[in-house]
Symmetry: C2
């Protein structure tokens, strides 16, 4: 039996897992970046954690997915805003500790590749994975391969402009997709509406604890018939329909797969999304695409990284 190591390196910690041939996590661990003042000291400790979980087993590769602007070819973290790291050659830093191959990629690419390899049939050649989390990321599978583009930056779906007069995004532009459908902006919008006195089942929760408002609660309220919550999900689905419609016209994929916390709203998003998508008359690419929510896979980032 051979194994692969996957590392999902998020905002403040790295999840490490040993993954077997059947894409099951055999052992896992995690390491917080706190207490490690430099990437070098952190990497040394991370390599130690990997050695522990490998524990002498036959490992053929190690893949790392990191949130941020990643240079795949050079194995470089250009910028990771959450980590506060700039120009860190993480692949080479880690490679020094191991004989097997180490690769580094963007976390959205790792998740897209993981979904493609574990949840999607081989007949699908062109697929877009959309990660609906705090922000919105994306990964593109084209002709059966992960497509990275000129600088490894491809797939930044969250920063497509939906309405240039919209809300200001972290990226400096206005009205990016993630200002409508990313959890951060979505929850902020809901809290503003609740503060302004909108009628909703969520008011009682909000009055007790504003921090309790979450995409999950918003889904539950909608399923209980709360008109406000339903209208919010209709907006989210509609805007996703606009953005994915653009991608369908440009990429003509067979499959779009939605993942991440916000995607768990399921039909609350999918129905308005499909309604918007089917408005136009140029149907060939629209009829050719299936849109689905990924099966629940909390460790897909880690498993995907191991498959890179």
């Amino acid at each position: 039996m051979t194994y692969r190591v996957g590392i999902d390196f998020g905002g403040t910690s790295a999840k490490v897992g040993l993954v077997d041939n059947k894409n099951r996590i055999v052992v896992s661990s995690s390491l917080s970046t706190e207490g490690f003042p430099t990437p070098h000291t952190f990497t040394r400790k991370l390599a130690g954690v990997c050695r522990e979980i490998i524990n002498g087993k036959n490992v053929k590769s190690l893949g790392i997915g990191v949130a941020g602007d990643i240079d795949f070819d050079r194995g470089l973290i250009r910028v990771s805003p959450n980590l506060g790291w700039k120009n860190v050659p993480l692949r080479n830093l880690m490679q020094r500790y191991f004989r097997f191959r180490v690769v580094l990629d963007n976390d959205a690419n790792a998740a897209a590749w993981g979904l493609y390899k574990t949840q999607v049939g081989k007949h699908v050649k062109n697929m877009i994975a959309v990660t609906l989390g705090t922000g919105i990321g994306g990964g593109l599978i084209l002709n059966g391969q992960l497509y990275r583009g000129a600088t490894g930056s491809a797939g930044e779906i969250g920063h497509m402009t939906i309405d240039e007069r919209g809300r200001r995004c972290n990226c400096g532009n206005r009205g990016c997709l993630e200002t409508y459908a990313g959890a951060f902006h979505l929850i902020r919008r809901v809290k503003e509406d609740l503060a302004n006195g909108v009628q909703s089942l969520l008011q009682s929760v909000y009055k007790k604890d504003p921090q309790a408002i979450s995409p999950l609660l918003l889904s539950q309220a909608a399923r209980h018939g709360d008109r406000y919550a339903i209208s919010v999900w209709n907006d989210v689905g509609h805007v996703l329909g606009l953005a994915l419609g653009n991608l369908v016209y440009v990429f003509n994929p067979e499959l779009i797969i939605l993942t991440g916390g916000v995607s768990q709203a399921g039909d609350l998003i999918l129905e308005p999304l499909k309604k918007t998508l089917h408005r136009g008359t140029f149907k060939t690419p629209i009829n050719a695409v299936r849109i689905q929510i990924a099966r629940n896979a909390p460790h897909i980032g880690l498993i995907g990284a191991s498959l890179l």
Copy 2:
């Protein structure tokens, strides 16, 4: 010496050319669809025109680019609105007359491939060709190959939504890119403004002959300092900047090449386009892309088709 035949099949006529190894057109001809009641009778005549220009020379392939919804794999014209054809297996109809290989593709793909092979260095692997004509089309070169997507519909850049409250497009949606930057809608908008009495050098032309208003005249007016004309080109460039910005974030290409009549406005478009493109703070993919106007190549559709 071996040759290739290229056919650029536009709204009402097909241009046919014999192309040599150096991508020069050696002989050419054209055939109007008028007077041929069915695709079959037209194809028979078209094959005859090809034979005439081939005139016994050593031809290795024939490529046809057609405006419309084309199924590349099956060699089928699904719909060509201009020709009024539906479900015409043009590749097989033509293949019956020749021993060498016949291929059929969308005209924007043919033009993109032609530009890639004749105007772009091999170091460019990922490129978007944007055809700014009456409408707006596009062709994608990814990893050095023409990317067609699941049904051969990829690259329909003109129908990306810029503002869903915008003008109604032929496709049934509102605010598609081509309602801002395609010549048809652009000229309609200018005529409306002129009819409403906007101050412009173009008023005298418009009063003599409204049909004389063209993208070329609009460029000339702008270069003479006409504020109205400059503001129109600023709008066009800005909207193209928004749309291409989305594509840069998603595709991360090395090159975007603009072609077609409207692109001849040159810097009048490029300057506002780049200004809009550089607004955001996520610079890696923006700094990696070069945006340029294609060198004048009136027969690029025909040459590109021959190279398919």
